[in-house]
Protein backbone atom coordinates (compact mmCIF):
# COMPACT_ATOMS: atom_id res chain seq x y z
CA UNK A 1 0.00 0.00 0.00
CA UNK A 2 2.83 2.38 0.87
CA UNK A 3 4.32 1.65 -2.53
CA UNK A 4 1.08 2.65 -4.21
CA UNK A 5 1.11 5.99 -2.45
CA UNK A 6 4.74 6.52 -3.38
CA UNK A 7 4.05 5.67 -6.99
CA UNK A 8 1.28 8.23 -6.96
CA UNK A 9 3.68 10.89 -5.76
CA UNK A 10 6.37 9.80 -8.19
CA UNK A 11 4.04 10.08 -11.18
CA UNK A 12 2.53 13.38 -10.02
CA UNK A 13 4.66 15.38 -12.40
CA UNK A 14 3.49 13.52 -15.50
CA UNK A 15 -0.14 13.26 -14.47
CA UNK A 16 -0.34 16.93 -13.59
CA UNK A 17 1.38 17.93 -16.76
CA UNK A 18 -1.49 16.42 -18.76
CA UNK A 19 -4.05 18.00 -16.46
CA UNK A 20 -2.43 21.39 -16.76
CA UNK A 21 -2.37 21.06 -20.55
CA UNK A 22 -6.07 20.25 -20.49
CA UNK A 23 -6.83 23.07 -18.06
CA UNK A 24 -4.98 25.48 -20.31
CA UNK A 25 -7.03 24.36 -23.28
CA UNK A 26 -10.13 25.08 -21.23
CA UNK A 27 -8.97 28.60 -20.58
CA UNK A 28 -7.37 28.28 -17.13
CA UNK A 29 -4.29 30.29 -16.39
CA UNK A 30 -1.01 28.95 -15.08
CA UNK A 31 1.58 30.83 -13.04
CA UNK A 32 5.10 29.43 -12.78
CA UNK A 33 7.01 29.84 -9.53
CA UNK A 34 10.58 29.14 -8.43
CA UNK A 35 10.74 29.69 -4.73
CA UNK A 36 8.93 29.18 -1.42
CA UNK A 37 8.77 32.96 -0.99
CA UNK A 38 6.11 33.18 -3.71
CA UNK A 39 2.69 33.57 -2.01
CA UNK A 40 0.91 30.79 -3.89
CA UNK A 41 -2.30 31.73 -2.09
CA UNK A 42 -2.67 34.74 -4.37
CA UNK A 43 -2.31 32.59 -7.47
CA UNK A 44 -4.95 30.17 -6.17
CA UNK A 45 -7.17 33.11 -5.25
CA UNK A 46 -6.86 34.34 -8.83
CA UNK A 47 -8.26 31.02 -10.00
CA UNK A 48 -4.97 30.08 -11.63
CA UNK A 49 -2.76 27.03 -11.12
CA UNK A 50 0.55 27.67 -9.32
CA UNK A 51 3.24 25.34 -10.58
CA UNK A 52 6.86 24.79 -9.64
CA UNK A 53 9.21 25.25 -12.57
CA UNK A 54 12.03 22.95 -13.63
CA UNK A 55 15.52 23.73 -12.36
CA UNK A 56 16.86 20.43 -11.05
CA UNK A 57 18.62 18.92 -14.03
CA UNK A 58 22.10 19.30 -15.45
CA UNK A 59 20.88 18.90 -19.05
CA UNK A 60 20.08 22.52 -19.96
CA UNK A 61 23.08 24.03 -18.14
CA UNK A 62 25.35 24.05 -21.20
CA UNK A 63 22.72 26.02 -23.12
CA UNK A 64 22.32 28.44 -20.21
CA UNK A 65 26.06 29.08 -20.18
CA UNK A 66 25.76 30.62 -23.64
CA UNK A 67 24.14 33.52 -21.82
CA UNK A 68 25.01 33.23 -18.13
CA UNK A 69 28.45 33.04 -16.53
CA UNK A 70 29.82 29.57 -15.85
CA UNK A 71 30.65 30.40 -12.27
CA UNK A 72 27.04 30.66 -11.15
CA UNK A 73 24.91 28.34 -9.07
CA UNK A 74 23.60 25.30 -10.99
CA UNK A 75 20.04 26.02 -9.88
CA UNK A 76 19.96 29.40 -11.61
CA UNK A 77 21.68 28.05 -14.71
CA UNK A 78 19.38 25.04 -14.88
CA UNK A 79 16.23 27.15 -14.38
CA UNK A 80 17.24 29.60 -17.08
CA UNK A 81 18.46 26.82 -19.38
CA UNK A 82 15.11 25.01 -19.21
CA UNK A 83 13.34 28.25 -20.07
CA UNK A 84 15.69 29.24 -22.88
CA UNK A 85 15.58 25.83 -24.55
CA UNK A 86 11.82 25.50 -24.00
CA UNK A 87 12.29 22.06 -22.44
CA UNK A 88 10.29 22.72 -19.26
CA UNK A 89 6.63 22.08 -20.12
CA UNK A 90 5.50 23.95 -17.02
CA UNK A 91 7.41 27.03 -18.12
CA UNK A 92 5.91 26.58 -21.56
CA UNK A 93 2.36 26.59 -20.19
CA UNK A 94 2.89 29.48 -17.77
CA UNK A 95 1.14 32.78 -18.44
CA UNK A 96 3.30 34.57 -15.90
CA UNK A 97 6.50 33.74 -14.03
CA UNK A 98 7.01 34.95 -10.47
CA UNK A 99 10.56 35.40 -9.24
CA UNK A 100 12.04 36.78 -6.02
CA UNK A 101 15.30 38.58 -5.30
CA UNK A 102 16.64 35.88 -2.99
CA UNK A 103 20.13 36.34 -4.42
CA UNK A 104 22.02 38.53 -6.84
CA UNK A 105 22.32 35.72 -9.37
CA UNK A 106 18.60 35.11 -9.55
CA UNK A 107 17.58 38.74 -9.66
CA UNK A 108 19.89 39.50 -12.58
CA UNK A 109 18.91 36.27 -14.35
CA UNK A 110 15.22 37.25 -14.11
CA UNK A 111 16.02 40.45 -16.00
CA UNK A 112 17.25 38.35 -18.91
CA UNK A 113 14.36 35.90 -18.59
CA UNK A 114 11.90 38.75 -19.29
CA UNK A 115 12.75 38.31 -22.98
CA UNK A 116 11.17 34.86 -22.92
CA UNK A 117 8.02 35.36 -20.82
CA UNK A 118 6.44 38.01 -18.62
CA UNK A 119 8.32 37.77 -15.30
CA UNK A 120 7.17 39.47 -12.14
CA UNK A 121 9.97 39.89 -9.62
CA UNK A 122 9.17 40.42 -5.94
CA UNK A 123 11.78 42.55 -4.18
CA UNK A 124 12.67 40.92 -0.88
CA UNK A 125 14.08 42.93 1.99
CA UNK A 126 17.24 41.40 3.48
CA UNK A 127 16.18 41.80 7.06
CA UNK A 128 12.91 40.57 8.43
CA UNK A 129 12.63 42.21 11.82
CA UNK A 130 12.08 45.92 11.16
CA UNK A 131 8.91 47.84 10.42
CA UNK A 132 10.33 49.38 7.26
CA UNK A 133 11.33 46.03 5.78
CA UNK A 134 7.95 44.56 6.66
CA UNK A 135 6.15 47.46 4.99
CA UNK A 136 8.23 46.98 1.87
CA UNK A 137 7.28 43.31 1.76
CA UNK A 138 3.56 43.99 2.32
CA UNK A 139 3.77 46.40 -0.60
CA UNK A 140 5.47 43.73 -2.72
CA UNK A 141 2.71 41.23 -1.93
CA UNK A 142 0.11 43.87 -2.92
CA UNK A 143 2.03 44.47 -6.15
CA UNK A 144 1.93 40.78 -6.98
CA UNK A 145 -1.83 40.78 -6.43
CA UNK A 146 -2.23 43.72 -8.80
CA UNK A 147 0.05 42.14 -11.40
CA UNK A 148 -1.88 38.86 -11.25
CA UNK A 149 -5.18 40.74 -11.64
CA UNK A 150 -3.85 42.62 -14.64
CA UNK A 151 -2.06 39.73 -16.32
CA UNK A 152 -4.81 37.15 -15.75
CA UNK A 153 -7.68 39.63 -16.10
CA UNK A 154 -9.40 38.77 -12.83
CA UNK A 155 -10.34 40.52 -9.62
CA UNK A 156 -9.06 38.94 -6.43
CA UNK A 157 -11.31 39.53 -3.41
CA UNK A 158 -10.22 39.23 0.22
CA UNK A 159 -12.66 36.35 0.49
CA UNK A 160 -10.83 34.52 -2.34
CA UNK A 161 -7.52 34.98 -0.54
CA UNK A 162 -8.83 33.77 2.83
CA UNK A 163 -10.16 30.64 1.14
CA UNK A 164 -6.77 29.99 -0.48
CA UNK A 165 -5.04 30.60 2.86
CA UNK A 166 -7.19 27.84 4.35
CA UNK A 167 -6.11 25.43 1.58
CA UNK A 168 -2.38 26.15 1.81
CA UNK A 169 -2.47 25.98 5.62
CA UNK A 170 -3.99 22.52 5.32
CA UNK A 171 -1.42 21.50 2.74
CA UNK A 172 1.41 22.61 5.07
CA UNK A 173 -0.10 20.63 7.93
CA UNK A 174 -0.39 17.53 5.77
CA UNK A 175 3.22 17.73 4.59
CA UNK A 176 4.44 18.40 8.11
CA UNK A 177 2.55 15.33 9.35
CA UNK A 178 4.29 13.29 6.65
CA UNK A 179 7.75 14.60 7.64
CA UNK A 180 6.99 14.08 11.32
CA UNK A 181 6.50 10.36 10.74
CA UNK A 182 10.28 10.07 10.70
CA UNK A 183 10.58 11.17 14.30
CA UNK A 184 10.06 7.45 14.90
CA UNK A 185 13.08 5.19 15.22
CA UNK A 186 13.57 3.44 12.85
CA UNK A 187 12.07 5.96 10.43
CA UNK A 188 9.17 4.62 8.36
CA UNK A 189 10.08 6.66 5.27
CA UNK A 190 13.37 6.84 3.43
CA UNK A 191 14.83 10.20 2.47
CA UNK A 192 14.09 9.47 -1.17
CA UNK A 193 10.44 8.75 -0.32
CA UNK A 194 10.11 11.97 1.68
CA UNK A 195 11.69 13.92 -1.14
CA UNK A 196 9.43 12.34 -3.75
CA UNK A 197 6.28 13.12 -1.77
CA UNK A 198 7.35 16.65 -0.85
CA UNK A 199 8.57 17.43 -4.35
CA UNK A 200 5.34 16.26 -5.98
CA UNK A 201 3.47 19.12 -4.36
CA UNK A 202 5.13 21.75 -6.53
CA UNK A 203 3.54 20.23 -9.65
CA UNK A 204 0.19 19.43 -8.13
CA UNK A 205 -2.71 21.06 -9.94
CA UNK A 206 -5.29 19.91 -7.40
CA UNK A 207 -4.46 20.85 -3.82
CA UNK A 208 -7.42 18.92 -2.38
CA UNK A 209 -6.21 15.70 -3.95
CA UNK A 210 -2.64 16.33 -2.80
CA UNK A 211 -3.79 16.87 0.80
CA UNK A 212 -5.88 13.67 0.67
CA UNK A 213 -2.92 11.70 -0.65
CA UNK A 214 -0.59 13.02 2.03
CA UNK A 215 -3.10 12.32 4.78
CA UNK A 216 -3.68 8.87 3.30
CA UNK A 217 0.04 8.18 3.37
CA UNK A 218 0.28 9.22 7.02
CA UNK A 219 -2.66 6.95 7.97
CA UNK A 220 -1.19 4.08 5.98
CA UNK A 221 2.16 4.34 7.75
CA UNK A 222 0.40 4.42 11.14
CA UNK A 223 -1.35 1.16 10.27
CA UNK A 224 1.59 -0.81 9.01
CA UNK A 225 4.40 -2.35 10.97
CA UNK A 226 7.77 -0.86 10.32
CA UNK A 227 9.97 -3.45 8.67
CA UNK A 228 13.22 -1.52 8.84
CA UNK A 229 15.09 -3.40 11.48
CA UNK A 230 18.59 -2.25 10.72
CA UNK A 231 20.06 0.26 13.13
CA UNK A 232 21.56 3.04 11.05
CA UNK A 233 22.84 6.56 11.63
CA UNK A 234 20.03 9.13 11.49
CA UNK A 235 21.08 12.06 9.34
CA UNK A 236 19.59 15.53 8.92
CA UNK A 237 20.08 17.29 5.58
CA UNK A 238 20.14 21.07 5.41
CA UNK A 239 21.35 23.71 2.96
CA UNK A 240 20.40 24.57 -0.60
CA UNK A 241 17.20 23.33 -2.28
CA UNK A 242 17.19 19.69 -3.36
CA UNK A 243 14.67 18.15 -5.73
CA UNK A 244 14.18 15.05 -7.80
CA UNK A 245 17.11 15.09 -10.21
CA UNK A 246 19.52 16.63 -7.73
CA UNK A 247 19.13 14.09 -4.96
CA UNK A 248 22.63 12.61 -5.27
CA UNK A 249 23.63 13.35 -1.67
CA UNK A 250 20.44 11.78 -0.31
CA UNK A 251 20.83 8.77 -2.58
CA UNK A 252 24.53 8.27 -1.76
CA UNK A 253 23.93 8.64 1.97
CA UNK A 254 21.20 6.01 1.93
CA UNK A 255 23.26 3.69 -0.28
CA UNK A 256 26.07 4.00 2.25
CA UNK A 257 23.76 2.88 5.04
CA UNK A 258 22.34 6.06 6.57
CA UNK A 259 18.75 7.07 7.10
CA UNK A 260 18.04 10.62 5.94
CA UNK A 261 15.35 11.21 8.56
CA UNK A 262 14.80 14.93 8.16
CA UNK A 263 15.37 17.70 5.63
CA UNK A 264 15.60 21.36 6.55
CA UNK A 265 15.48 22.63 2.96
CA UNK A 266 13.12 24.79 0.96
CA UNK A 267 11.04 21.80 -0.08
CA UNK A 268 11.49 20.24 3.35
CA UNK A 269 10.86 21.42 6.90
CA UNK A 270 11.97 25.04 6.44
CA UNK A 271 8.46 26.45 5.97
CA UNK A 272 6.33 23.74 7.54
CA UNK A 273 5.83 25.34 10.92
CA UNK A 274 4.71 28.58 9.31
CA UNK A 275 0.96 28.99 9.07
CA UNK A 276 -0.85 32.10 7.85
CA UNK A 277 -2.86 33.63 10.71
CA UNK A 278 -6.56 33.66 9.82
CA UNK A 279 -7.80 36.10 12.44
CA UNK A 280 -6.54 39.38 10.95
CA UNK A 281 -8.35 42.05 9.00
CA UNK A 282 -6.14 42.14 5.91
CA UNK A 283 -5.19 38.85 4.24
CA UNK A 284 -2.27 40.52 2.44
CA UNK A 285 -0.70 41.50 5.76
CA UNK A 286 -1.30 38.00 7.09
CA UNK A 287 0.43 36.48 4.07
CA UNK A 288 3.32 38.93 4.28
CA UNK A 289 3.85 37.99 7.93
CA UNK A 290 4.07 34.30 7.16
CA UNK A 291 6.39 34.57 4.17
CA UNK A 292 8.66 37.07 5.88
CA UNK A 293 9.33 34.50 8.60
CA UNK A 294 10.93 31.97 6.22
CA UNK A 295 14.45 31.26 7.53
CA UNK A 296 16.25 31.57 4.21
CA UNK A 297 19.97 32.35 4.16
CA UNK A 298 19.17 35.39 2.01
CA UNK A 299 17.97 37.07 5.23
CA UNK A 300 20.55 38.82 7.37
CA UNK A 301 20.72 37.91 10.17
CA UNK A 302 18.92 34.57 9.96
CA UNK A 303 18.68 33.19 13.51
CA UNK A 304 15.45 31.22 13.01
CA UNK A 305 17.20 28.70 10.72
CA UNK A 306 19.69 27.83 13.45
CA UNK A 307 16.87 27.49 15.97
CA UNK A 308 14.95 25.27 13.57
CA UNK A 309 17.97 23.01 12.94
CA UNK A 310 18.65 22.87 16.67
CA UNK A 311 15.08 21.76 17.38
CA UNK A 312 15.03 19.30 14.49
CA UNK A 313 18.25 17.64 15.72
CA UNK A 314 16.49 16.92 19.02
CA UNK A 315 13.03 16.12 17.65
CA UNK A 316 14.30 13.71 15.00
CA UNK A 317 17.04 12.29 17.28
CA UNK A 318 19.69 12.99 14.69
CA UNK A 319 23.20 11.46 14.79
CA UNK A 320 24.86 13.69 12.17
CA UNK A 321 24.17 16.67 9.92
CA UNK A 322 24.98 17.10 6.23
CA UNK A 323 24.90 20.68 4.94
CA UNK A 324 24.77 20.83 1.14
CA UNK A 325 25.72 24.00 -0.71
CA UNK A 326 25.38 24.31 -4.46
CA UNK A 327 28.46 25.93 -5.97
CA UNK A 328 28.45 29.72 -5.89
CA UNK A 329 25.53 29.97 -3.46
CA UNK A 330 27.30 32.44 -1.22
CA UNK A 331 24.65 32.89 1.44
CA UNK A 332 24.25 29.21 2.30
CA UNK A 333 27.97 28.64 1.85
CA UNK A 334 28.89 31.33 4.37
CA UNK A 335 26.07 30.45 6.76
CA UNK A 336 27.55 26.93 6.85
CA UNK A 337 30.12 28.28 9.32
CA UNK A 338 27.39 29.06 11.88
CA UNK A 339 25.52 25.84 11.17
CA UNK A 340 28.76 23.89 11.68
CA UNK A 341 29.39 25.59 15.01
CA UNK A 342 25.88 24.76 16.19
CA UNK A 343 26.03 21.11 15.16
CA UNK A 344 29.49 20.57 16.66
CA UNK A 345 28.43 22.27 19.89
CA UNK A 346 25.79 19.54 20.20
CA UNK A 347 28.56 16.94 19.90
CA UNK A 348 27.53 15.68 16.47
CA UNK A 349 29.55 15.20 13.27
CA UNK A 350 28.93 17.94 10.71
CA UNK A 351 29.72 17.52 7.03
CA UNK A 352 29.62 20.51 4.71
CA UNK A 353 29.53 19.55 1.04
CA UNK A 354 29.87 21.92 -1.89
CA UNK A 355 28.73 20.45 -5.17
CA UNK A 356 26.83 21.00 -8.40
CA UNK A 357 24.37 18.98 -10.47
CA UNK A 358 27.02 16.87 -12.22
CA UNK A 359 28.19 13.38 -11.31
CA UNK A 360 31.85 14.36 -11.49
CA UNK A 361 32.37 14.31 -7.72
CA UNK A 362 30.42 11.18 -6.76
CA UNK A 363 33.55 9.32 -5.63
CA UNK A 364 34.86 12.10 -3.45
CA UNK A 365 31.37 12.73 -2.01
CA UNK A 366 31.18 9.03 -1.13
CA UNK A 367 34.46 9.11 0.81
CA UNK A 368 33.31 12.13 2.79
CA UNK A 369 29.86 10.78 3.59
CA UNK A 370 31.25 7.35 4.46
CA UNK A 371 33.86 8.86 6.76
CA UNK A 372 31.17 10.90 8.49
CA UNK A 373 29.05 7.79 9.00
CA UNK A 374 32.09 5.98 10.45
CA UNK A 375 32.36 8.80 12.98
CA UNK A 376 28.82 8.02 14.14
CA UNK A 377 29.52 4.28 14.40
CA UNK A 378 32.47 5.07 16.72
Amino acid sequence: MLDEFMQGFASAREVNLLRIKEAKENGRKVVGIYCTYCPQELILAAGAIPVGLCGMSENPIAAAEETLPRNLCPLIKSSYGFAATDTCPFFHFSDLIVGETTCDGKKKMFEIMQDLKPVHVMQLPHLNNTEASFELWVEEVRCLKKRLEKELQVTISDQDIWRAVEVINQEKQAIKAMFDLNRADPPPLSGMEMLTAAWSRSFSSDKGELIDNLNGLVREVANQTNNRQVKAPRVLLTGCPVGLGTEKVIRLSEELGAYIVAMENCSGYKTLELQTATNGADPIVALAEKYMAIPCSCMSPNPYRLKLIDNMIDDFRVDAVIDLTWQACHTYNIEAFEVGKLVKSKGLPYLHLESDYSNSDLESLKVRIEAMLEMVEK
Partner: protein, 258 residues
Protein backbone atom coordinates in the same frame (compact mmCIF):
# COMPACT_ATOMS: atom_id res chain seq x y z
CA UNK B 1 44.86 -14.52 14.66
CA UNK B 2 45.98 -13.33 11.24
CA UNK B 3 44.65 -10.23 9.44
CA UNK B 4 45.54 -8.17 6.39
CA UNK B 5 44.99 -4.49 5.73
CA UNK B 6 45.34 -3.13 2.19
CA UNK B 7 45.35 0.48 1.02
CA UNK B 8 44.84 0.71 -2.73
CA UNK B 9 45.71 4.27 -3.65
CA UNK B 10 45.74 5.91 -7.06
CA UNK B 11 49.52 5.56 -7.36
CA UNK B 12 50.57 2.75 -5.02
CA UNK B 13 48.95 -0.22 -3.31
CA UNK B 14 50.18 -0.88 0.20
CA UNK B 15 49.56 -3.84 2.51
CA UNK B 16 50.15 -4.97 6.08
CA UNK B 17 49.81 -8.47 7.44
CA UNK B 18 49.60 -8.92 11.18
CA UNK B 19 49.85 -12.27 12.90
CA UNK B 20 50.39 -12.75 16.61
CA UNK B 21 53.61 -10.97 17.40
CA UNK B 22 54.65 -10.54 13.79
CA UNK B 23 54.00 -8.24 10.87
CA UNK B 24 55.13 -7.68 7.30
CA UNK B 25 54.41 -4.97 4.78
CA UNK B 26 54.51 -4.64 1.00
CA UNK B 27 54.01 -1.98 -1.63
CA UNK B 28 53.61 -2.02 -5.43
CA UNK B 29 52.47 0.48 -8.06
CA UNK B 30 48.70 0.29 -8.47
CA UNK B 31 48.90 0.32 -12.25
CA UNK B 32 45.68 0.26 -14.23
CA UNK B 33 43.89 -2.42 -12.23
CA UNK B 34 43.30 -1.78 -8.52
CA UNK B 35 41.80 -5.27 -8.25
CA UNK B 36 44.95 -6.98 -9.53
CA UNK B 37 47.15 -4.74 -7.42
CA UNK B 38 45.20 -5.79 -4.33
CA UNK B 39 45.64 -9.46 -5.19
CA UNK B 40 49.36 -9.01 -5.86
CA UNK B 41 49.80 -7.33 -2.48
CA UNK B 42 48.13 -10.27 -0.73
CA UNK B 43 50.40 -12.72 -2.56
CA UNK B 44 53.49 -10.74 -1.54
CA UNK B 45 52.39 -10.49 2.08
CA UNK B 46 51.73 -14.23 2.28
CA UNK B 47 55.10 -15.02 0.76
CA UNK B 48 56.96 -12.66 3.08
CA UNK B 49 55.25 -14.07 6.16
CA UNK B 50 55.28 -17.70 5.05
CA UNK B 51 51.54 -17.98 5.68
CA UNK B 52 48.72 -19.52 3.63
CA UNK B 53 45.72 -17.65 2.28
CA UNK B 54 43.26 -19.79 4.28
CA UNK B 55 44.98 -18.81 7.53
CA UNK B 56 43.99 -15.18 7.02
CA UNK B 57 40.83 -14.47 9.00
CA UNK B 58 40.02 -10.90 7.95
CA UNK B 59 40.98 -8.61 5.09
CA UNK B 60 40.10 -4.92 5.38
CA UNK B 61 40.59 -2.70 2.36
CA UNK B 62 40.82 1.07 2.11
CA UNK B 63 41.87 3.64 -0.49
CA UNK B 64 40.29 4.76 -3.73
CA UNK B 65 40.45 1.23 -5.16
CA UNK B 66 38.72 -0.36 -2.18
CA UNK B 67 35.42 -1.01 -3.92
CA UNK B 68 37.13 -2.76 -6.85
CA UNK B 69 38.62 -5.42 -4.60
CA UNK B 70 36.07 -8.17 -4.15
CA UNK B 71 37.87 -10.31 -1.54
CA UNK B 72 37.51 -7.74 1.21
CA UNK B 73 35.66 -8.61 4.39
CA UNK B 74 35.08 -4.93 4.90
CA UNK B 75 35.90 -1.63 3.26
CA UNK B 76 36.82 1.36 5.41
CA UNK B 77 37.60 4.93 4.41
CA UNK B 78 41.18 6.18 4.25
CA UNK B 79 40.26 8.79 6.80
CA UNK B 80 39.46 6.28 9.53
CA UNK B 81 42.40 4.04 8.58
CA UNK B 82 45.04 6.77 8.64
CA UNK B 83 43.73 7.97 11.99
CA UNK B 84 43.96 4.45 13.43
CA UNK B 85 47.35 3.71 11.88
CA UNK B 86 48.98 6.92 13.06
CA UNK B 87 47.56 6.53 16.58
CA UNK B 88 49.36 3.19 16.82
CA UNK B 89 52.73 4.71 15.93
CA UNK B 90 52.34 8.09 17.66
CA UNK B 91 49.54 8.19 20.26
CA UNK B 92 50.22 11.89 20.94
CA UNK B 93 49.27 12.97 17.39
CA UNK B 94 46.06 15.03 17.15
CA UNK B 95 46.24 16.27 13.54
CA UNK B 96 47.13 14.21 10.49
CA UNK B 97 47.94 15.73 7.12
CA UNK B 98 47.72 13.05 4.45
CA UNK B 99 48.71 13.87 0.89
CA UNK B 100 48.23 11.10 -1.61
CA UNK B 101 48.21 10.88 -5.38
CA UNK B 102 44.70 12.17 -5.86
CA UNK B 103 43.70 13.97 -2.74
CA UNK B 104 44.89 15.73 0.33
CA UNK B 105 43.20 15.40 3.69
CA UNK B 106 43.48 16.84 7.14
CA UNK B 107 42.17 14.69 9.97
CA UNK B 108 41.58 15.73 13.53
CA UNK B 109 41.90 12.78 15.92
CA UNK B 110 41.07 11.89 19.50
CA UNK B 111 43.06 10.02 22.14
CA UNK B 112 42.41 6.57 20.71
CA UNK B 113 42.81 7.56 17.09
CA UNK B 114 39.11 8.17 16.55
CA UNK B 115 38.20 10.70 13.85
CA UNK B 116 36.82 13.93 15.33
CA UNK B 117 36.67 15.97 12.13
CA UNK B 118 38.22 16.00 8.68
CA UNK B 119 38.64 18.12 5.58
CA UNK B 120 39.39 17.07 2.02
CA UNK B 121 40.60 18.94 -1.05
CA UNK B 122 38.12 20.00 -3.71
CA UNK B 123 37.78 18.18 -6.96
CA UNK B 124 40.94 19.50 -8.60
CA UNK B 125 44.52 18.27 -8.25
CA UNK B 126 45.94 21.36 -6.53
CA UNK B 127 47.87 20.32 -3.43
CA UNK B 128 48.14 16.63 -4.33
CA UNK B 129 50.84 14.22 -5.44
CA UNK B 130 49.46 14.37 -8.95
CA UNK B 131 50.14 18.11 -9.06
CA UNK B 132 53.79 17.53 -8.14
CA UNK B 133 54.07 14.70 -10.65
CA UNK B 134 52.90 16.88 -13.54
CA UNK B 135 55.29 19.63 -12.51
CA UNK B 136 58.22 17.20 -12.17
CA UNK B 137 57.59 16.06 -15.74
CA UNK B 138 57.60 19.66 -16.94
CA UNK B 139 60.98 20.07 -15.22
CA UNK B 140 62.37 16.88 -16.75
CA UNK B 141 62.61 15.14 -13.38
CA UNK B 142 61.06 12.17 -11.66
CA UNK B 143 58.70 13.14 -8.86
CA UNK B 144 60.97 11.33 -6.37
CA UNK B 145 63.83 13.71 -7.23
CA UNK B 146 61.97 16.92 -6.32
CA UNK B 147 62.69 16.86 -2.59
CA UNK B 148 66.48 16.87 -2.92
CA UNK B 149 66.53 19.23 -5.89
CA UNK B 150 64.85 22.21 -4.23
CA UNK B 151 66.66 25.38 -3.30
CA UNK B 152 64.53 27.50 -0.93
CA UNK B 153 67.19 30.22 -1.04
CA UNK B 154 66.23 31.01 -4.61
CA UNK B 155 62.47 30.60 -4.16
CA UNK B 156 60.41 31.32 -7.30
CA UNK B 157 56.80 31.73 -6.24
CA UNK B 158 54.25 29.70 -8.19
CA UNK B 159 50.95 31.53 -7.94
CA UNK B 160 48.56 29.30 -9.85
CA UNK B 161 46.58 26.62 -8.05
CA UNK B 162 45.43 25.11 -11.33
CA UNK B 163 47.64 22.24 -12.50
CA UNK B 164 47.54 23.28 -16.14
CA UNK B 165 48.21 26.97 -15.46
CA UNK B 166 50.95 26.15 -12.94
CA UNK B 167 52.62 24.04 -15.62
CA UNK B 168 52.63 26.98 -18.04
CA UNK B 169 53.94 29.17 -15.24
CA UNK B 170 56.89 26.80 -14.75
CA UNK B 171 57.65 26.66 -18.45
CA UNK B 172 57.61 30.46 -18.54
CA UNK B 173 59.81 30.67 -15.46
CA UNK B 174 62.36 28.24 -16.95
CA UNK B 175 62.34 30.24 -20.18
CA UNK B 176 63.21 33.38 -18.22
CA UNK B 177 66.27 31.53 -16.94
CA UNK B 178 65.18 31.00 -13.33
CA UNK B 179 66.94 28.19 -11.45
CA UNK B 180 65.20 24.83 -11.28
CA UNK B 181 65.88 24.50 -7.56
CA UNK B 182 64.06 27.76 -6.85
CA UNK B 183 61.09 26.76 -9.01
CA UNK B 184 60.85 23.45 -7.16
CA UNK B 185 60.94 25.24 -3.81
CA UNK B 186 58.08 27.40 -5.13
CA UNK B 187 56.10 24.29 -6.03
CA UNK B 188 56.54 22.86 -2.56
CA UNK B 189 55.49 26.16 -1.06
CA UNK B 190 52.40 26.15 -3.27
CA UNK B 191 51.34 22.69 -2.04
CA UNK B 192 52.18 23.67 1.54
CA UNK B 193 50.05 26.84 1.36
CA UNK B 194 47.09 25.03 -0.12
CA UNK B 195 47.06 22.21 2.41
CA UNK B 196 47.90 24.48 5.37
CA UNK B 197 44.90 26.68 4.53
CA UNK B 198 42.66 23.62 4.66
CA UNK B 199 44.24 22.54 7.95
CA UNK B 200 43.86 25.97 9.54
CA UNK B 201 40.24 26.11 8.50
CA UNK B 202 39.59 22.86 10.30
CA UNK B 203 41.79 23.78 13.26
CA UNK B 204 45.30 22.45 13.95
CA UNK B 205 45.91 20.68 17.25
CA UNK B 206 49.40 19.48 18.10
CA UNK B 207 51.13 17.21 17.52
CA UNK B 208 50.95 17.02 13.76
CA UNK B 209 51.82 14.05 11.55
CA UNK B 210 52.33 14.04 7.79
CA UNK B 211 51.52 10.81 5.91
CA UNK B 212 50.98 9.59 2.34
CA UNK B 213 53.33 9.35 -0.59
CA UNK B 214 54.06 13.08 -0.72
CA UNK B 215 55.36 12.99 2.87
CA UNK B 216 58.53 11.33 1.55
CA UNK B 217 59.39 14.68 -0.05
CA UNK B 218 61.31 16.71 2.58
CA UNK B 219 60.63 19.89 0.62
CA UNK B 220 56.88 19.65 1.12
CA UNK B 221 57.40 18.87 4.80
CA UNK B 222 59.61 21.97 5.13
CA UNK B 223 57.00 24.11 3.34
CA UNK B 224 54.17 22.77 5.50
CA UNK B 225 56.11 23.43 8.70
CA UNK B 226 56.73 27.00 7.58
CA UNK B 227 53.11 27.56 6.66
CA UNK B 228 51.52 26.16 9.79
CA UNK B 229 54.32 27.23 12.11
CA UNK B 230 54.82 23.98 13.96
CA UNK B 231 57.05 20.93 13.80
CA UNK B 232 55.65 17.99 11.84
CA UNK B 233 56.34 14.30 12.38
CA UNK B 234 56.73 12.13 9.29
CA UNK B 235 56.39 8.46 10.29
CA UNK B 236 59.15 6.25 8.96
CA UNK B 237 56.51 4.21 7.12
CA UNK B 238 54.51 7.26 6.02
CA UNK B 239 52.99 5.52 3.02
CA UNK B 240 51.77 2.56 5.03
CA UNK B 241 49.73 4.16 7.80
CA UNK B 242 46.44 3.59 5.95
CA UNK B 243 47.18 -0.10 5.40
CA UNK B 244 48.36 -0.43 9.00
CA UNK B 245 45.15 1.20 10.22
CA UNK B 246 43.04 -1.13 8.09
CA UNK B 247 44.87 -4.17 9.49
CA UNK B 248 44.50 -2.91 13.07
CA UNK B 249 40.78 -2.28 12.62
CA UNK B 250 40.40 -5.83 11.28
CA UNK B 251 42.40 -7.16 14.24
CA UNK B 252 40.23 -5.28 16.71
CA UNK B 253 37.01 -6.55 15.15
CA UNK B 254 38.25 -10.12 15.47
CA UNK B 255 39.33 -9.60 19.04
CA UNK B 256 35.97 -8.09 19.92
CA UNK B 257 34.18 -11.08 18.39
CA UNK B 258 36.22 -13.61 20.35
Amino acid sequence: MIVIGIDIGSVAAKGYIISSGNHHRAMIPTGWSPREAGQAIIDQLLEASGLERNQVEQIYVTGYGRVAFEHADKTVTEIKCHARGVAELYPEIRTIIDIGGQDSKVISTGEKGQVLDFAMNDKCAAGTGRFLQVMATALGLDVSELGDAEDPGQMQTISSMCTVFAESEIIGSLARGNPKGGIIAGLHQSVGKRVAAMARRMGIREQVAFTGGVAINPGVKRALEEEIGTRIIVPEACQYTGALGAALLAWETLRRDL
